[in-house]
């Protein structure tokens, strides 16, 4: 979803095939499908189409070749109109082997096009994919789709023959041959890809040339071969987007950049304590290259040390940030309580994945909402923010930093595996448009004496850096005395401090925007309320329903805790509320609890994002 696409009329009819195309590349995890998809995405962006992608890969790095569990896929939806999701059903499936065909073909739209590398459909690969003796390319099992059989493996070998590579290396150019064919199909310029290959293999020009030759050969094949039948060229017009400078960005990249921006706007240095975990590691990788922005990254010995070191850094006057996924966040729970008790700023990023336990490391889910809002011992309130898309993660990260430093509190920033890996075009903002929120450390004894747990108008305590003369004091996880912060177990004090911590976080609702209605208007028959990465499918589903004249609005919540101050009244202005979530109904429960509204769940926990059609059907049912 390009944020600039505000010009789209919501009355637009359902997208016609001519306006948008969904392509899925699928192959073995060693076939370079993610790379192929990434480069096709870039060429799509450069062609001016709006787009959304869905990389879907196995948890295994190199699963046994040819197996169904080793299949890696990359889906892209692009068009001349607003694109918010990676598409419900592919129009085109490029299958590099039998396993890729087997695991992906059922998703293909009836009548859709299959391009299969028949060179890989030998008896061994057929058996590994579970096809047995029967070659699906040769019976009528694919009859409801259109099939093009190409011996991509042989065509690639022929194309790179002049470079004298071994068969194994030569076959590694298959993905570029395929990409060349895809570029021809969608009328794309090859030059940016050729430039990219030259840069990528600058140290090995033979490999660069072989890949370029494969790319050109795939393109030429489309141009010259007498394929006939279903193979034809598509042209997709550029999308009508607002003028400006664009780039593609994944959620991990934009979130990391947002954290840097947030720290800079606060006038602080960043300390990032992390521990490798899928799908959150990309944030650690990205930040570790940005030391010139005052970023220190620390790969800690475990998740607990990652957050504990970040708390230590915040105590010492930098902005401590830590990032993980569900299992790692669980380990950080006790330390989050310490940050709440010591009232230190801290940002905790959770790139959610399928759970519980190790669950589905590379698949997406939204099932850590309870954990974020409630998952600590004691009455331990913490603000929670959720990003809706890769681009939105940038602003959400800045917002998390702002709340953390202005209210002296740890903040949880929720994203998920889908947002983390998916790419979309981003109209790059001008940072001059962002209001700085510089931190003011306490550097002298204030009138009335030093009160480490005194509070300002935001109910935040002062931030005092060790090293400041005259302000020595002690903090810790034991209950603090009101004002002084000394140990105090007394009943009245614990009541007062529990109330103070709650009041501070509740009050944040007065310092964040009121909840808006993304599509539609306050009041009506139905509101579809979402949070996080379900934004895309909900948005498209509500657009389509409204185009059919349905009385339905979209409300998408960024501030999960505390909730926007007008949300209760807003929800009560609709006859019905449905809450689509990739969990078993967690936000629905929070809404019911907070507002006593009859919020109805729409749940999906398959590790895959919602399809637009699934939400459309729920809208129709709710209005029936």
């Amino acid at each position: 979803m390009a944020t600039a696409l505000k010009t789209i009329k919501e009355a637009r009819a359902p997208l016609a095939t001519a306006e948008s195309v969904v392509v899925r590349f699928a192959g073995d995890s060693g076939d370079g499908m993610q790379l192929t998809g990434g480069q096709f995405t870039l060429s799509t962006a450069l062609a001016g189409n709006d787009l959304a992608t869905f990389p879907d890969f196995p948890a295994e790095i190199r699963a046994p070749q040819g197996t169904t569990f080793g299949v890696s896929a990359f889906q892209i939806n692009f068009g001349s109109t607003e694109i918010d999701t990676a598409g419900d059903e592919p129009d085109v499936l490029i299958a590099m082997n039998p396993a890729a065909l087997k695991t992906n073909v059922d998703a293909l739209k009836p009548g859709g096009l299959i391009i299969a590398d028949e060179g890989e459909f030998g008896s061994r690969n057929l058996a590994k994919a579970g096809y047995g003796e029967v070659n699906p390319l040769e019976d009528d099992s694919l009859a409801k789709w259109q099939l093009i059989r190409l011996n991509i493996s042989q065509l690639t070998l022929d194309a790179v023959k002049p470079f004298g590579l071994g068969t194994k290396d030569a076959l590694r150019c298959k993905n570029m041959w395929t990409l060349g064919l895809a570029l021809w199909m969608f009328d794309r310029d090859r030059q940016p890809l050729i430039d990219w290959l030259k840069a990528k293999f600058a140290k090995n020009p033979v490999i660069a040339d072989a890949n370029i030759a494969a790319l050109n050969a795939g393109h030429a094949y489309g141009e010259t071969a007498e394929i006939g039948g279903p193979m034809k060229q598509y042209h997709v017009d550029p999308a009508p987007v607002a003028p400006g400078l664009y780039r593609t960005v994944t959620g991990s990249e934009s979130l990391a950049m947002g954290l840097v921006a947030g720290t800079q706007l606060a006038g602080l240095k960043m300390f990032f304590g992390g521990y490798p975990i899928t799908p959150a590691s990309a944030i650690l990788h990205y930040l570790s290259r940005l030391k010139e922005f005052g970023v220190t990254t620390f790969q800690a010995e475990d998740e607990i040390a990652a957050i504990a070191s970040a708390i230590g850094a915040s105590y010492a006057g930098q902005l401590g940030i830590t990032s993980s996924s569900g299992p790692g966040i669980a380990l950080k729970g006790e330390a989050m309580g310490l940050a709440v008790m010591t009232e230190l700023p801290l940002v905790i990023v959770n790139s959610q994945r399928g759970g519980p336990s190790t669950g589905l490391p590379t698949k997406t889910e939204q099932s850590d909402l309870y954990q974020a809002v409630y998952g600590r011992n004691g009455d331990t309130p913490m603000p929670v923010i959720a990003a809706r898309s890769p681009v939105d993660a940038f602003d959400c990260a800045i917002e998390a930093c702002r709340i953390a430093v202005q209210f002296m509190t740890p903040v949880i920033l929720l994203t998920d595996g889908y947002i983390a890996n998916a790419a979309e075009p981003w109209k790059v903002p001008d940072m001059a448009g962002y209001e700085p929120f510089p931190v003011k450390f306490l550097d002298h004894v204030p009138e009335g004496g030093l009160k480490p747990y005194g509070r300002n108008e935001k109910l935040a305590r002062p931030w005092i850096k060790p090293g400041t003369p005259g302000l020595m004091h002690r903090i810790g996880g034991i209950e603090k005395q009101v004002g002084t912060g000394n140990l105090d177990y007394s009943p009245a004090n614990h009541q007062a401090m529990t109330n103070a911590r709650k009041a501070k976080v509740d009050n944040i609702a007065n310092h964040v925007p009121e909840q808006d209605v993304t599509l539609g208007a306050p009041g009506g028959k139905l509101a579809v309320v979402g949070w996080g990465s379900t934004f895309g499918p909900i948005h498209q589903a509500v657009l389509r329903a409204r185009a059919k004249g349905r009385d339905v609005s979209q409300i998408h919540v960024r501030h999960i805790w505390p909730l926007p101050r007008n949300l209760g009244d807003l929800l009560k202005s609709y006859d019905r509320v449905i809450v689509p979530e990739m969990n078993t109904g967690q936000f629905k429960t929070v809404l019911r609890d907070q507002y006593l509204v009859d919020a109805r769940p729409l749940n999906k926990v398959s590790g895959q994002p919602f399809k637009i059609s699934e939400i459309e059907a729920a809208i129709e049912e709710a209005l029936a």
Partner: protein
Amino acid sequence: MNEITKLTPADWASDQEVRWCPGCGDYAILKAVQRTMPELGVSRENTVFVSGIGCSSRFPYYMETYGFHTIHGRAPAVATGVKLANPELDVWLVTGDGDGLSIGGNHMLHLIRRNLDCQVLLFNNEIYGLTKGQYSPTSRVGTRSPSTPFGSVDRPTNPCAFAIGCGGRFVARAIDTNLKTLPEVLKRAHANKGTSFVEIYQNCIVYNDGVFEDFTEKKAAPATQLWLEDGQPMLFAGGTKGLRLNRDHLHLEVVDVVDGDWQAADVLVHEESNKAVAQMLIDMPFPAFPIALGVIYCDPAPTFEAAVTAQNAEVSAGKTPDLNALIRKGQSWTVDGKPHAV
């Protein structure tokens, strides 16, 4: 610096009431630390005491410095963040045998191997005090406690052996109530740049009283304590006994020294940087051997925070932090002012 040199031990004591059990060894350690601080030439505001959970971990509340009483076992990780964020701070870490070697053993390992510049004071009382007397990872086999009513069966760890095994570059031992030697060890620990690991034998008067008395008792001390000093022979029992290296079997042995002629008895001279001998000294079984005390091993190496700071500076050199440039990095494209018709 004038203000610093004028400070007295009382200036390093906070206004908080000390809450350890009467007679606890922690009082003696607190006194030794407060007595040592004015002699280090450091300021109170640049000093940070970080602790975990347990009796010993209440320590920061009683020091008139910055202090952070964190969570069980995690003080090394918090201290790492503090020191990386501000390497100018003088960081002390106070922990115990349970906090530092059981729940926090992993963090202790990594703190030591990274060689973060800080002083680790591990109060070893061989028991869990704050949770009312369960056996700890340093308790001897057979320790009867509420959780081991028939005696513990698992073998204890040796804190100094752990530290040196983790790659520690400064390992020392001291005794809580010895107000003469403890400050000297603390000064050496402070002078070392890197993780200075100090095991302090600390008596828990309530749950493990007298566990170290075989060598801490005044009468027993001379015959059982070996105080190590760099460049000096390893003598004890008033100079009548010493340690010799059996070169055939590579182990230490106790020898008698006649008329002070330690050379004749082939007594070893302590060489702080000799790791192999340090490991033997740490592992000596008591009471067949004396307890090695003082600075057992000291062989400084570059510190973690110095390496991090240097790399941060090196790779940032000549680069201007420009957010607008950062978010525009990579392949981009411009859409002109006239939106395309659909």
